[in-house]
Symmetry: C2
Subunit: 139 residues, 2 copies
């Protein structure tokens, strides 16, 4: 609850104002440790800041992701989850059981250079989602 981490500098560095709504949302994501859906963020952040509303949660998550404070991950069927942007990694997701594995970005470097030089795009180095079947679900 009372937590030593101060998000103000990171918000200001991105030209964003420091509001209690943003602090509550960042605080919740920090303490969850993992990926949370907007609904989960809303329910938990409301504990610390009861007047928080749903539109604010959705807008804040999008804004903070755009400013690279958060990472958004697609986990299938249009569901999105968010986490604090800390490590560079991607996801392998089983589309049968939903099981998820994290993989490093390094093995994608070569591919990224190919794509970037052939298309002119500059690609994000985090949170690509690969779908497939996990070992358990292949039988």
């Amino acid at each position: 609850m009372t937590c030593s981490i101060n998000y103000a500098p990171r918000l200001r560095a991105q030209g964003l104002r420091v509001t209690p709504q943003r602090n509550a949302i960042l605080h919740v994501l920090h303490h969850s440790g993992g990926h949370l859906s907007p609904t989960q963020v809303y329910e938990r952040a409301r504990q610390e800041f009861p007047s928080l509303t749903e539109p604010t949660v959705y807008r804040t998550l999008e804004d903070l992701a755009e400013k690279k404070l958060l990472l958004a991950a697609h986990v299938g069927n249009g569901k999105i989850v968010y986490e604090l942007a800390e490590t560079q990694h991607h996801h392998l997701i089983c589309h049968k059981c939903g099981n998820t594995v994290e993989v490093d970005h390094a093995p994608l470097e070569l591919l990224y250079h190919q794509f970037e030089s052939s298309t002119g795009y500059k690609l994000d180095s985090s949170h690509v989602t690969f779908f497939g079947l996990c070992p358990d679900c292949q039988s």
Copy 2:
């Protein structure tokens, strides 16, 4: 409208019954040529089959994608679009302007083998979405 293509064999091959709802949905996707959102599919397929309902559209799109007759693509912010499964390809999407580029699967083969042997997953060879900035949006 009256279109020579018959989807019945492909449906039966997957153990699915042939219904006018499924035919209308497949027909719409065939004639659109590209990616359509569930809402777009619903609006168009309703022209040919007016009693069609939303839950049927959502369920059908998911079912047909699961049986590999369709491909689902994540296009950002939890939006999903579908298309007929014909070619193997992936997408590069600009998260500023939404512009999309298709890329071949071939350059991913090596990466896939690495991931598959290190994790045991068997990955889908189509419709991975890479996000980034297109050439126009980088300035």
